[in-house]
Amino acid sequence: MKSIKILLYTVAMCLLVQTVVTAQTSNVSETFKTHFNKTVTQVADADNADNKRAILNNSFDKMKTAINRIETSGQLSPAELAGLNAFKSDIDLKSAELNGLNGFSIVTDEDLDDFSKYAQQAIEQADRNVTIGLGTVLLIIIILLLL
């Protein structure tokens, strides 16, 4: 009777662990999409242009810092690295445009809400995707939360 109980508990534990792992399986783009969605909401809610611009700059910086830390951790394959680099370059471009750098005209105060949605839509397009291990994704989430 005792052995059956142990066996049943083992099976239950396996099912529980599998459920937790499945629920946490994610990829890097989903993590950034969720993060940037909060940014877009905060920009819409901000009461002046300076705050909107600061929220966007802070969000871009957080994503770039997260990518830099992941890249230097040395855990990535060349394909993963290429995908993340392309994503970072795109964030650099958006950041430059927001602040009128690298030949861009600065995004005007009245266009900041639209620009935040534009950046979100660009991030959420159905282009090539980067799938990265669960551990790396969790590290990105921690960085985005702590910074």
Binding site: V11, L93, F115, K117, Y118, A126, D127, R128, N129
Partner: protein
């Protein structure tokens, strides 16, 4: 009494384990099969939907709520299928492959088959070993259930919803089955696997980013007449296909007219919703066959010389020096609206072709 109860529990436990294992053995589980289908009228058209869901398809609405784009595409396809009174519609929803206890594979993919607007089959299926060739399992199911084509003007369409199909090196496209190669070449041969003999598709719609490309057009050319795809970004991934209902009122609607109606509807909707660029191209594959090899060869040379990064968004091919706008525009109908932000293009119109820079 105690011994008897212990014995009974043991038996029940073994029975549960056996059922569990057997459930994992079958690669399909028939959930619904119409027992006595009414005699359907001959279908005027066949539509095959393949909705890829084995990756990230999260996006957010303007109110911040999260949506799974593949679920949205599935719901749209089901609505089209229920209204396709003169057609036969097959829908494949390819999801992440999962296992029970890391051992027993589960049937995660979904298959729907409608005839004259009535659901004939619904089942769940998974890939077994040997099924890791793109569309091989779906083509097998399709060929087993499709009706015989009796109408002389019968048209067949293939709709693909997913992420960008890369030019080459298509491993790791799927989150759960990295060994399945998905690139231009495997896509072309995969589409062919749905066909019989010298049959040719009337229209292929690729609802992804960056796939109105010479390489994909070249691969599809032997098996298809028209291609509708996006040369650059395509927000929300999805082209509207409800224009299929045109065939309910006018059975002689051509594949080009259908593609044009889908493009117009999608373009109008996206113009109201998005700030990113909108590019939709209808490619007449019979017309482009005069120059497609030359254009693709020029792109190959450009790639060899410049080694462009395959990840960023496409640019308009006419931005590249080798592109001959006069020669390479025959057979292209392009719908284009530039992005509200970002670097402006040197050109006011779009060539309809997408290239990596």
């Amino acid at each position: 009494m105690h011994f008897f109860r212990q014995h009974l529990i043991k038996k029940l436990f073994y029975l549960a384990i056996t059922v569990f294992i057997l459930a994992g053995c079958s690669s399909t589980s028939q959930v619904y099969n119409r027992e006595n289908p009414s005699e359907p009228s001959a279908s005027v058209y066949t539509a095959i939907y393949y909705i890829h869901a084995d990756n990230d398809y999260l996006y957010h609405l303007s109110d911040g709520s999260a949506v799974r784009a593949n679920e949205q595409a599935l719901n749209s396809a089901l609505e089209v299928a229920e209204n396709a009174l003169s057609g036969e519609v097959f829908i494949f929803h390819q999801k992440s492959q999962k296992k029970r206890l890391w051992i027993f594979p589960r049937n995660q993919n979904e298959y729907y088959h409608f005839k004259n607007g009535i659901l004939q089959h619904y089942k769940k299926y998974r890939y077994s070993s040997g099924d890791d060739i793109l569309f091989s399992k779906e083509a097998e199911i399709f060929k087993a259930d499709r009706s015989e084509i009796t109408q002389p003007d019968h048209q067949t369409y293939f709709f693909y919803f997913g992420h960008e199909i890369p030019r080459d090196q298509g491993g790791h496209y799927n989150r759960s089955i990295s060994q399945m190669e998905v690139d231009s070449e495997t896509f072309g041969s995969g589409v062919k696997s749905f066909l019989t003999g010298d049959q040719i598709l009337d229209l292929v719609v690729i609802s992804t980013c960056n796939n109105a490309t010479p390489s994909l057009a070249k691969q599809l050319l032997p098996y298809d007449n028209y291609l509708l795809a996006s040369a650059q970004n395509l927000h929300l991934s999805y082209i509207d296909t409800d224009a299929l209902n045109l065939l309910e009122t006018n059975k002689s609607t051509s594949a080009y007219d259908l593609a044009h109606a889908m493009s117009s509807q999608t373009f109008d909707r996206l113009s109201k919703e998005v700030f990113t660029a909108i590019t939709l191209s209808i490619i007449d594959l019979k017309k482009v066959q005069n120059y497609i090899n030359e254009l693709d060869e020029n792109i190959s040379i450009y790639i060899d010389d410049n080694n462009p990064d395959p990840f960023p968004d496409n640019i308009d091919c006419q931005e590249l020096s080798f592109f001959d706008a006069e020669a390479y525009s025959n057979g292209i109908t392009a719908f284009y609206r530039p992005a509200k932000f970002g670097r402006p293009s040197r050109f006011k119109t779009h060539s309809g072709w997408g290239c990596k820079k």
